[in-house]
């Protein structure tokens, strides 16, 4: 019991929770934008991977950290446009396209990495984003350092939640996105181009996903590893359902997840070798499944999710 209290009172625990949550915030927001417009984006896992690689590679080639962020987002949006071309333009299966984009994006990332660095065994490191403590706020005990002594990308994630929520609920653009996800025929009748709005949403959402990947290489691990994304994309899809497609709840879900993950790592350290480490590594995946089970019964999916829209076709 004391061990648990010690964990919860340590600054490092809360800091780690926020750090683990950051890529999930980006990914969940990105998936949420796509799904709100009616498109399930199973390309997320691959777009995470390619974002991680592209951002890292750009910095490694001397483009600077923010240059890397732009390259990552641009690459992610590019794959998002391919996804949209298939699912929105052609209206083919969103499941299969998504798996195809994940295959394409992750193998493109690995292929590029191996082609540029054929004989590298230890992944080269880059100088990552540094901690940027915000004066005064970061002095608050416990939560201050956790929330306000992070890197620029974490602040960007917080800001994105506010911006996405604002755009989604307070602007005509957001209304259009929600409309094409709920009732595309009615939206079209209002003069909204379903194809344009959905394509835009998938591209922007994919940009966010790539940002989540870029955080991994540019702010967390400082290098690119094979299989480094490790299912984070799939976890984001579960988090979107958990968050009932709302940005604020997505933030909360990502935090809860981050806290749980940080907690299990510390618990593992204090319990020691009594329980195989794999059990702890399984927990995040099992937790995601459990979260899905708990909310699925009353999940209010966007009504046109996974329904392709072809003008004039019923």
């Amino acid at each position: 019991m004391d061990a648990i209290v010690d964990i919860l009172l340590a600054v490092s625990f809360w800091t780690a929770a926020v750090r683990i949550a950051t890529p999930l915030i980006f990914g969940t927001l990105g998936e949420l934008i796509c799904e709100r417009a009616g498109v399930l984006n199973l390309g997320i896992e691959g777009i995470f991977t390619v974002g991680a690689m592209a951002g890292w590679m750009a910095v490694y080639q001397g483009l600077g950290l923010w240059g890397g962020v732009f390259v990552a987002v641009g690459t992610g949006m590019g794959f998002g446009l391919i996804h949209a071309g298939f699912t929105v333009g052609l209206g083919v299966s969103q499941h299969v396209t998504g798996i195809g984009i994940t295959l394409l994006a992750s193998s493109a990332a690995y292929f590029t990495y191996r082609t540029v660095l054929p004989d590298v065994n230890t992944p080269p490191r880059i100088e990552p984003f540094q901690q940027l403590p915000i004066p005064l706020l970061s002095d608050i005990p416990l939560l201050g350092p956790a929330l306000f002594s992070q890197t620029a990308l974490t602040y960007l994630a917080f800001g994105s939640v506010v911006v996405v929520a604002f755009v989604l609920y307070r602007t005509p653009l957001g209304l259009a996105v929600r409309a094409v996800g709920e009732n595309p025929a009615a939206a079209e009748a209002q003069g909204i181009s379903v194809v344009a709005v959905r394509t835009g949403a998938v591209a922007v959402g994919s940009g966010f996903m790539a940002l989540g990947g870029a955080f991994l290489t540019m702010s967390a691990f400082n290098a690119f590893f094979f299989e480094m994304v490790g299912g984070r994309g799939w976890i984001c899809i579960a988090l979107v359902v958990f968050a009932s497609w709302r940005p604020g709840k997505a933030l909360l879900g990502a935090f809860l997840f981050g806290a749980f993950d940080a907690f299990q790592v510390r618990l593992q350290q204090s319990i020691g070798a009594a329980i195989p480490y794999q059990i702890f590594l399984m927990l995040p995946y099992l937790l995601s499944i459990l979260a899905l089970i708990l909310v699925s019964r009353r999940a209010a999916y966007p009504r046109a999710l996974m329904v392709p829209y072809r003008k004039g076709e019923r």
Binding site: L42, I82, F86, L90, V92, S93, H95, V96, T97, I99, G100, I101, L103, L104, S106, S107, A108, Y110, F111, T112, R114, T115, P118, G230, G231, W234, I235, I237, A238, V241, P276, Q278, I279, L281, M282, Y285, L286, S288, I289, L292, I293, S296, R297, A299, R310, K311, G312, E313
Partner: protein
């Protein structure tokens, strides 16, 4: 311009569509090959000879195709009923682990009994793994895409735990791998001094059997009906939940068999690198075959040829073997377009 559904799809189009997709994928492969700065002509030639030039190459390709046929069939069965099983990878490992559990010691003198029990347990393990997310889907409305995907990670970690614990071979000097299975449980080689094993024939039989089930039985009819329109099927009085469950048993079982085949036919033991993504590639195999079990055989052999050919080309020219994954991804996306062409025609106005 608009799309209009075709009334009937001719056989020519059914074969031309995947062929076109394959050509498109190979043409698109020129982009990464050019990026790797190798001669395109050499690359394609080496890929072709590496996959199909000579007995060794061909048996390697067929060996590689064996698990892909089975995972391709697993995906075909599930997708026909619109059960989005993306967990064939995990089901494969579950089957492989079950094979090691029942066949690491010869407990009976009959090779046939050993192999039969091993195949059945492996299939049961794969099926069991898919039953859970299927029940969650039919009973609680939990989306099976995410659950099957996440279970892949859980299973792999579980296998890793077993291979560092109770299943670890004491002679492996600390490597996470299992004891080899008993010699009488090994699937015999089809051709001496090659890796091609009886599992390939079993996979062919499985393809034929699945074709018969889907096209010639009441159960297959119900699977297709549920896949075509679940509400209509329910309205017609079909037991949708039970159909889904049977589909899950079939699909998970086939994926489990793929794992048994790799352990008992190729490796002889279980390790964490048993499958280089056979479960995920099964999705591409199934889509290229347009969810036709007999087509799965052809598309699995093609995909296997890409992997074997790219491996050998990559070694010769120093190109990353991820080129094969790229070609497979291209093929899947091209097939989505080709599938659209077979189902619709473009009309002006």
């Amino acid at each position: 311009m608009r799309l209009e559904p075709r009334q009937d799809v001719g056989l020519v189009l059914l074969v031309a569509a995947p062929a076109g997709a394959i050509v498109a994928a190979l043409v698109l492969a020129a982009i990464p090959l050019a990026f790797a700065q190798v001669s395109l002509l050499d690359a394609y030639r080496l890929m072709a000879t590496g996959a199909l030039g000579g007995q060794f190459a061909i048996t390697e390709t067929l060996t590689r195709a064996t698990p892909l046929i089975l995972t391709g069939l697993a995906v075909t069965a599930a997708f026909r009923a619109r059960l989005w099983n993306i967990g064939a990878e995990g089901q494969l490992y579950a089957g492989a682990m079950a094979a090691v559990l029942v066949a690491s010691h010869a407990w009976i003198d009959s090779s046939l009994v050993m192999i039969a029990v091993m195949l059945l347990t492996g299939a049961a393990a794969g099926a069991l793994l898919l039953i859970v997310p299927t029940l969650l889907k039919t009973r609680l409305g939990v989306d099976e895409v995410v659950t099957t995907l996440l279970l892949n990670f859980v299973v792999l970690l579980f296998v890793s735990m077993m291979l560092e614990g109770p299943l670890q071979d004491p002679m492996s000097m600390g490597w996470p791998q299992s004891e080899p299975i008993a010699a009488i449980a090994e699937l015999p080689d089809l051709i001496a001094r090659t890796r091609l094993h009886v599992g390939f024939i079993l996979a062919l039989i499985a393809a034929l059997a699945l074709w018969l089930v889907i096209n010639r039985t009441r159960w297959g009819f119900e699977m297709r009906a549920v896949g075509a329109n679940v509400d209509a099927a329910r309205f017609a009085g079909m037991p949708v939940g039970r159909v889904m469950l049977l589909t899950a048993v079939l699909s998970g079982g086939l994926a489990g068999l793929a794992g048994v085949g790799e352990v008992a036919g190729v490796r002889g033991y279980l390790a964490l690198d048993l499958s280089p993504g056979f479960g995920y590639t099964g999705i591409v195999v199934a889509m290229l075959a347009q969810l036709n079990p007999l087509g799965v055989v052809a598309s699995a052999i093609f995909i296997a040829a890409i992997f074997v050919g790219a491996d050998s080309m990559g070694r010769a020219l120093g190109v990353s073997s991820y080129i094969a994954d790229l070609v497979v991804a291209f093929a899947l996306l091209a097939m989505l377009v080709a599938g659209l062409v077979t189902r619709y025609r473009l009309r002006r106005g």
